[in-house]
């Protein structure tokens, strides 16, 4: 992926339906637990992956929660 791809991605955002930031926060712990259990998190919580691709802040929050919960 080159610089233009990244810029286009940031400008156009993810394709398809996505959760809002509030819905993302609401579901984040459940989503992370499903990921850590190797369950199909994207099927259980549709729209989360797209939102994480489109929202850098929620993406960072997700990565931190997953890293912290994985260490438990």
């Amino acid at each position: 992926m080159n610089e233009d791809d990244r810029l286009i991605g940031r400008l156009l955002g993810p394709e398809g339906p996505e959760l809002t930031c509030d819905e993302c926060f609401e579901q984040l712990d459940r989503y992370v637990e499903l990921e850590l259990a190797d369950a199909d998190a994207d099927r259980v919580i549709p729209g989360m992956r797209a939102h994480l691709e489109g929202c850098p802040a929620c993406h960072e929050d997700h990565d931190s929660l997953k890293a912290l919960a994985a260490g438990e």
Binding site: L7, I8, L12, E15, T20, C21, D22, D29, D61
Partner: protein, 210 residues
Amino acid sequence: MEEALPFAPAFPDDDSDAWVAALRTSGPARDAATTRLYELLLRAARFEVNRRRGMLPHLRGDDLDDLATQSADDALMAIMAKLESFRGDSRFTTWAYKFALLEAAVKLRRRAWQGREIPLEPETWNLFEAERPTPHGSAEQGELLLEIQAAIRDGLSPHQREVLVALAINGVPIDVLAERLDTTRGALYKTLHDARKKLRAHVASKGMTV
């Protein structure tokens, strides 16, 4: 035929039930649980501060620890106010961590941008120019960017343009922009989402695929 449900971990677990029961009770058991919860939140906040400390190279260890402590304080308040909303879809500790991580992340982003001007106009439109000094990508990408630039200029409302430019081009963190514009992360993301939808519709109308 109905598909099998994907495997999902079993919650609520005994430990989570015990947390909620202890926090809902009163007296010494509740005090002890609150103390344990606070320690857990402080650990989570310090974890986030350590992960992101590169954003704030000028802050000393004491300042960073103050930031973690404030985050744990605020997270504890939020959790106690929302305890009844814990549905047991995850471990209680994972649910609680997300509050501390959010508080710390927002404080870190805001501190990193403290005193900095928020660029609401593109710092340079060179990003979109077909003949850029250093070619970044293909000719097709260049044409797509020119169409996107036209849609940003002509198809968005002034507010949508400011939000899109700040967040997607100039890299302003959404929490920082929300604070400066006196709004919420959710409201700004909705504006960004609507702007992106218009841009996608514009490039589709030109027969371009992304």
